[in-house]
Symmetry: C2
Subunit: 427 residues, 2 copies
């Protein structure tokens, strides 16, 4: 097209997580004006967020400015703003400062921590979705040990050295394993009164096994590897209440210096205002081509889209789902803008390619499923390390992260054990 940029259709992308970013990278942006909106200035490499929460990496190690990732794309603007509402029929997005009219819309706002109707638990059991969350978890964890060290009552000291992680999915497993490892291999040398090797780390799961999306043999292996690190795994256990420094498990009270919520992820609440059909988690039930029913120029990708793909696979809420969904929509739209009308949506149906799943538990401890291959322990951990290094965006981050890991591996030290934030140790 040789028309001036202002005559081009306007594609608005909401969210620069894996879905939005992979759309923006794959879409040939000479075909339209593209505006990418995110409430943060950075794309976050979410799979390593738990490493920031457990003091292995710095916040900037796993984040990169969206502007800098997309700087070479013509006709593409990045806007840091919060989405307040979406008017699908009026083709307009309402932001905290101003509005955006669109011809095409890609909704990729991702998920957020949900407490299943118990939002009052949030202050006492924060979740892990953003860098701010990770810095907060790191602070809470390190402050709990500082408070234990300053405490003269031994029973209270043991309570402060108790960590409860709610939710046995990948995030919960990664956090519990790494908290345990940190206490036993790093922190124990730093304190006088307390022995962090005596810290209790409890992983609570409502269902009959952890990592339920993995095959059973890998779940069992992960549980053994967690036990090796001293993590207590409690299956079939429900959280009935959470208060400051206290969690109730099936009604039994447990005091803890550090409580983390890794149990619930729901879609961004923006979906509720769209007037389209949602699943129980608030995700948009998209058409096979990832368009929103009744709105062929609106697409939803990533964690806020619910779909069983054309091969009957339920697309999981993982990075790969967002990446592949974003790229799929980019291809569809490019075809429509460069060639002509799309084929019927059934013939453009999205097919999810499962490239394997991994969860890490600690140093040399992990599980991985790659096709029919099931790996545990060191081989899984090496695979996990390689995949994450390759995927990390940007040279600087990759080198710096690699260096941190090599250094932690050989010295058992963790460099980012820094408490940021104005919270006093007693608060």
């Amino acid at each position: 097209m040789s028309s001036p940029a202002s005559a081009l259709p306007h594609v608005v992308v909401l969210g620069a997580g894996f879905g939005g970013l992979f759309f923006a990278k794959a879409f040939p942006s000479h075909l339209a004006r593209v505006t990418v909106v995110d409430r943060q200035n950075h794309h976050l490499f979410q799979p390593l967020l738990y490493q920031v929460a457990t003091a292995g990496l710095s916040a900037p190690d796993i984040a990169q400015p969206i502007r800098s990732i997309l700087r070479d794309k013509p006709n593409l603007a990045v806007l840091m703003a919060e989405v307040r509402g979406i008017d699908l029929t009026g083709r307009r997005v309402e932001l905290d400062h101003g509005t955006l009219d669109f011809d095409y819309l890609v909704i990729a706002l991702g998920g957020r921590t949900t407490y299943f109707g118990h939002d009052d638990w949030e202050p006492f059991a924060p979740g892990l979705k953003t860098l701010d969350d990770a810095v907060r978890l790191r602070r809470n964890m390190l402050l709990a040990y500082e408070r234990a060290e300053a405490e003269s009552d031994p029973a209270r000291r043991q309570e402060l050295m108790t960590t409860v992680v709610v939710g046995g999915g990948p995030t919960g497993v990664e956090l519990a394993g790494t908290f345990a490892e940190l206490a036993r291999t790093v922190l124990y040398r730093d304190f006088d009164r307390i022995d962090p090797r005596q810290a209790r780390i409890i992983l609570v799961e409502g269902g009959p096994r952890i990592l339920a999306t993995f095959p059973e043999d890998l779940s069992a292996s992960a549980q053994r590897q967690l036990a090796d690190l001293g993590v207590e795994v409690r299956l079939n256990t429900r959280v009935t209440a959470i208060r400051a420094g206290e969690v109730e498990l099936d009604g039994a009270r447990l005091h803890a210096g550090n409580i983390v919520w890794a149990a619930g992820v729901g879609a961004s609440p923006v979906t509720r205002s769209l007037g389209v059909e949602l699943d129980r988690a608030g995700r948009i039930k998209v058409r096979p081509d990832l368009s929103v029913p009744g709105h062929p120029r609106v697409f939803a990708v990533g964690d806020l889209a619910a779909l069983t793909d054309r091969n009957g696979v339920v697309v999981p809420g993982v990075c790969q789902g967002g990446m592949q969904g974003g790229a799929h929509v980019a291809r569809l739209l490019a075809y429509e803008l460069a060639v002509g009308p799309r084929r019927p949506e059934e013939r453009e149906a999205f097919a999810y390619h499962d490239k394997g799943n991994m969860a890490t538990i600690g140093r040399s401890k992990a599980i991985a499923q790659i096709g029919r291959l099931h790996l545990s322990g060191l081989p899984a951990w090496v695979a996990w390390l390689g995949v994450h290094l390759i995927f990390l965006l940007g040279l600087r981050n990759r080198l710096s992260v690699f260096l941190s890991w090599v250094h932690s591996y050989f010295t058992y030290r963790r460099g980012a054990r820094i408490i940021l934030g104005r919270d006093a140790p007693g608060s």
Copy 2:
């Protein structure tokens, strides 16, 4: 000594900045029980704080847990707590949680940003003393550009791209130079509507020259190097008011998206409750051996001590002053505990050894004074780089910082351009 630890005298060290840390490292801790108190869990490498504020380094790159630095010292405990008051005659320190009795006390609480009676300016023109401050400055700076990009009024856009740094000492010069460099060599590629190369960076100094503690030729060179980067230096200019997004210079209003206060450092306010003589900045006028007048078992070192040393040199408020003061007191106390009574304080007088002073302005831009040697530009910058790498504590940090610098130098990118914190872009 073979007496049990509890029979040993108790030395309390308040603050783990350079003064407190160098005392703790130099003191032979088999001679006493030592308790190091700090309100943070980390020692901060303050000379590089401006690099965090300007997105060159991550917060954990320049900080290290105090526990981990001092972990090999016997009889030494680290306590994370805030000092509420000091009772010199009762030999007791009041903390936010509990009290500590001492036999000897080393006060090394350092300085804090002061607004010369205008504390109401703080919310609009934050200072730079802590990691939290640095993360806040980085956020304010990056948000100002984001807001400018989202702004449709060109005049308002230019205002948002205006940064005012108040204070022409080393911190102000480093910030102004690095802000300018960041805008002109990194940020300009990232935006569409605005051109950060058009950003105004204004450095305001009340006196007749910047870097007044340096020789005049180096001040002049620094000012030329700042001008090369496009920084406007305003000498003999007073700040008469600061409001949200607005500063008054000699009564003339100037709108700015980012205002930073680098003008005033005063002693920690704890000094005011001691009942001893202070100078105008609130610093304790110590005896020649760094003891507090009338309290031979109490010492003050670093930024809250005021002293002209035995060679007639006014000990400056820089890292070296704290390091040397801390080590001096460690030697005095070790002698007293291991051998016997100290000699008269005049014979134990502290002598400051000036190892040189440096200020950096940008890439290949700096000034340095080492004895009679005056360096400018690239040689000064290389000297600055080497000295700071050598001094940085801990292998992990040194490598990671070095890597960041090498990468920034060759690519003109800055890795830590991450906005943390819950402030919305409009707030």
